[in-house]
Subunit: 192 residues, 4 copies
DNA sequence: AATGAATGAGAGTTCATTCAT
DNA sequence: AATGAATGAACTCTCATTCAT
């Protein structure tokens, strides 16, 4: 990727993150990057495509970050779950462009929305399922019925934590209660 | 409230719900309502204030709908929880403007947002806590520690269900698994 | 005149005076007067006609104020001229609505402009001519040629003093030099 | 300066001159210049800034025109004064936007106004003072006291001529009497 | 590959005016 | 005589996009 394109992508990501899709103008991005507006169109064709590229590259970053959890741990699967949940909260807190995609206004870009969210969800479900399966194999967890359902439930819970109430302001309070919450959540899962 | 204002508010709510705040133009609302654009400004002063009034009135509707649950039921508290969750999903599915306010990118409306979301969250926590307390009193639930924490957790879970993935497309599949999910969730809560 | 009309006229005068013709809205006047907007139209038919009535009534006030000079003085005609000039400066400083009429933007109301300004100018020329004639009769002034020309010249000078440079900020400095200026101006007129 | 910008500036100047600031719309300027409205904003950012640029460039033109007087004449200083006054009247008659800035109601532009008017006034005072001083040196004029006061007085007189009454309609009559007026004005100044 | 001048459709907003009550 | 809800034309300004260089 050319240095100009790289620079534009990075700047776009920052600016979209700060002001959101609609409040960010192509002009602003170009000026911030100290490039010409025409270059944006040369490399990305349209504002929407630029945003898509930003989101896509951000998702790759998210996955990378989350994957690192598994490499480090051979520990108790409940600890891995806990680590994943905390890491996710931190990472999502940073990656606002992904959240931007979730805005109801993005319903107009329905196909893209579905692509992006479904892909990310499937990926996460797969990761979580893997952890849960390992827990079952190791005899740490008991999951009658489909494991996928439990994974989905965990994911729903994690998504609930994305809402600003919890991310902003009440973050610390939540962390301190986090083990409690996970305890309750995993009580139904834990073997004894 | 004059019939014109009423009509404009209803139309605005529908249109914001369909296309979101930015993609909805004042002109569009006015035309949809078959009223003059000037009337919008006569009654609401600005697009932002119109949106706020829409959100506020929608939240009032949400509360009303959710409150009706308690009136109808003297049943098992687990059934009430279940009914609340399902009702909430249905209601939120309709009242899409509420989600609009959940996005942290809405910087301009920040103060308004905090007020509105915090109020709604507090209200919901109170309702859920009430249900849980009744369940404990009736000997149906067992909640060691603070009840408020359980209520908060349930709320997080409910908020996780709001994300577009579940509202659009996968709605039916989710409903069919809903009892499973609630079962797991309430297993940690249930007394035996 | 009804109390409502009176109230509206007074308020309109104040508001036009503060913000000028274009920056003042009918709504603002009505609200300031705590009357309904419809009442403005009932009494004055249009914004332009309201403004005309304001200017007309203000000119009547100006003339009244300036006339009072002659009643008080039987003194040296040069003193009367001086008193007139000072009084005029003070009075014009108050009556901004008349000045508003002089704005280039008012060229579109050409007929009204001509009516108002010509009338006021003629009136002033007549007053000044009267003073000058008295001065000549009393042997205090020497005016070869037409007296009207001298009157006109004095009027031009007085109009020059209306510009903001002199009215705003430099007012005091000007007053202190006023006698000097008048001295020069009247030197050509004075008999010896 | 690009041809487009140049064209827009010229057209804006003409249109503001004809209809004044408020009655001139950006749309009208753009259409008159056969350019896109967006181009106006690309080059001038706002209506106010466009107007400022128009006024500024017009003042530059005024100064240039007035300066030419001195280059041509080595004549009697009274003739130079006369030439200056006549030239000024003609030039001001063309450059109506200058008057626009003279109105105290232009509160929004106040700081800009002060700068522009004070600068122009100072410039004119300097020019007139220069003429007067030359007249004194050449022994043509007699000015007891400060020369600056005389210059200021002349300027006040010149400003008095700017009012619409004299610019419109009565222009010819005034010109025919002009020498008379100047005669009186300079009588107090002339050395015999 | 890169530029930035130029565009024009469409946005939010204002406001003099009308009219049923 | 007085009201204020309702109107719609006109306004300033924004911005994604195009294109000649």
């Amino acid at each position: 990727m050319s240095p100009t394109k790289q620079k534009l992508l990075t700047t776009a990501s920052k600016t979209f993150g700060k002001y959101g899709f609609y409040k960010t103008s192509m002009d602003e991005i170009a000026k911030s990057a100290r490039k010409a507006k025409g270059s944006l169109y040369y490399h990305f064709n349209s504002k929407e495509l630029l945003f898509r590229e930003v989101v896509t590259s951000e998702l790759d970053f998210l996955k990378q970050e989350l994957t690192s959890i598994f490499d480090d741990h051979n520990a108790d699967s409940r600890d891995i779950i806990r680590a994943y949940m905390i890491k996710r909260m931190m990472v999502m807190n940073i990656s606002i462009n992904y959240q931007e995609t979730l805005r109801p206004e993005f319903y107009e870009f329905y196909e893209f929305l579905n692509d992006v969210i479904l892909e990310m969800d499937e990926w996460e479900k797969k990761q979580i399922t893997k952890i849960l399966n390992q827990g079952v194999e190791k005899g740490e967890l008991e999951l009658p019925g489909e494991v996928a359902i439990y994974a989905e439930m965990l994911l729903i819970f994690l998504k609930g934590l994305e809402t600003p109430l919890f991310l902003k302001g009440q973050y610390e309070r939540l962390i301190s209660n986090f083990d409690n919450l996970i305890g309750i959540l995993t009580k139904g899962i834990s073997k004894i």
